[in-house]
């Protein structure tokens, strides 16, 4: 069962990677970045799973799952939200300067 979770994480990560590589629109690049980030977070949380584990809340009945990846994921979510906000702010700035968010057109304008 745990393999399905890993496969989902990798699938989501690859969708995000393909979005970043293939799209020329800067907004779509930022969307790809968030999708990749979700894949990475899924991978971290899955890595903390223990067979038959229960949530790490006291009182526990049985073996708890690893709480450390959960704490790391919380950190990563907040930092991801912050860098997406900064990236979007920069994209808005680019749009004000060039009146477009298309990478090819921006390059064409510069030459």
């Amino acid at each position: 069962m745990i393999k399905i979770s890993y496969a989902t994480a990798i699938f989501v990560f690859c969708i995000g990677l393909y979005t970043i590589l293939s799209k020329r629109n800067l907004f779509k690049t930022v969307i790809g970045l968030t999708i990749m980030e979700s894949g990475a977070l899924m991978l971290i949380v899955t890595a903390g799973y223990v067979h038959g584990g229960v949530p790490p809340l006291i009182p526990m009945e049985g073996q708890a799952v690893n709480p450390l990846p959960h704490a790391f994921t919380l950190t990563a979510i907040v930092i991801g939200a912050s860098d997406v906000a900064l990236a979007l702010a920069l994209v808005i700035k680019v749009h004000r300067r060039y009146k477009t968010v298309d990478l090819d057109k921006i390059r064409g304008l510069k030459e």
């Binding site: 745990i2 393999k3 890993y6 496969a7 990798i10 699938f11 990560f13 690859c14 990677l17 393909y18 590589l21 293939s22 903390g48 799973y49 223990v50 067979h51 949530p55 790490p56 809340l57 006291i58 009182p59 526990m60 073996q63 708890a64 690893n66 709480p67 450390l68 959960h70 704490a71 919380l74 950190t75 979510i77 907040v78 930092i79 939200a81 912050s82 860098d83 906000a85 900064l86 979007l88 702010a89 920069l90 808005i92 700035k93 749009h95 004000r96």
Partner: protein
């Protein structure tokens, strides 16, 4: 096509890596220590909260400063834009519905923050709920309404106070001679595990982080939406000018 093949190849490569892994049956390393000793040392029922705010508190302080840096960056990028006009907001039904919902959302957010040491939740999640309330107000009633109710200066003050409160609580540990961000070692009462008043400084740190995250995310959204409305307004006036010509 080549890009698709490249992504599939990377995915296959990663899959070969995780397919070799076994299902772990037990936990080793620092996580095992945290699970065994959290109730003894911190008194928090939520082990993740104990790790975030006690064992790795300095990590969380750095994380909070990342949000602060983002708010500074966004505010700096949009500093020159002057506020001109607000969006009109949504229909009457949406306004009534949201004004009915807002008290419950506030209650939900404060529950998540205040019970963060016992149940899943905490300052980051509850702060995000508070930011959602202001974003809803911004969208449904228009940004000038939101600005008149919750002034941007107030948000900045709340955010700075949250950060200062966090550092102050860390400094208490320093004064007690137990190290920065020390919890029970610095004399904070541990309480009974599972009680509302327990876990020493963790609920206070939750409140500080909640103030910081809620005000910070709300400020980020507000400055972005203000700029977008400004641009939209400029385009509209251009269109109107063209119509006249």
């Amino acid at each position: 096509m080549g890009l698709l093949l490249l992504c599939l190849g990377i995915g296959w490569w990663l899959w070969k890596g995780v397919a070799a892994m076994e299902d772990p049956e037990f936990i080793i390393g620092p996580a095992a220590y945290y699970i065994i000793n959290t109730a003894e040392e911190t008194g928090a029922a939520n082990i993740v909260a104990a790790i975030l705010f006690d064992y790795r508190g300095i990590d969380t302080l750095g994380e909070a400063s990342v949000i602060y840096t983002t708010v500074c960056g966004v505010a700096m990028l949009f500093s020159k834009s002057k506020y001109k006009r607000s969006s009109a907001g949504l229909s009457f039904i949406a306004r009534r519905g949201v004004s009915f919902l807002v008290p419950f959302l506030l209650l939900y957010g404060s529950t998540i923050i205040l019970m963060g040491h016992m149940t899943p939740g905490g300052g980051f999640q509850g702060g995000a709920v508070f930011a959602t309330v202001t974003i809803l107000l911004c969208i449904v009633f228009g940004s000038s309404f939101e600005m008149s109710r919750i002034k941007p200066k107030t948000k900045e003050t709340i955010e700075s106070l949250g950060g200062l409160f966090f550092v102050f609580l860390g400094g208490v540990g320093l004064l007690a001679g137990a190290g920065f961000l020390a919890n029970t070692a610095a004399g904070f009462p541990r309480g009974q595990v599972g009680n509302f008043l327990s876990a020493g400084a963790i609920p206070l740190l939750n409140i500080a982080v909640g103030m910081k995250v809620g005000a910070g995310l709300s400020t980020i959204f507000y400055s972005m939406v203000r700029v977008l409305e400004l641009e939209f307004g400029e385009q509209m006036s251009e269109v109107e000018g063209n119509d006249k010509n």
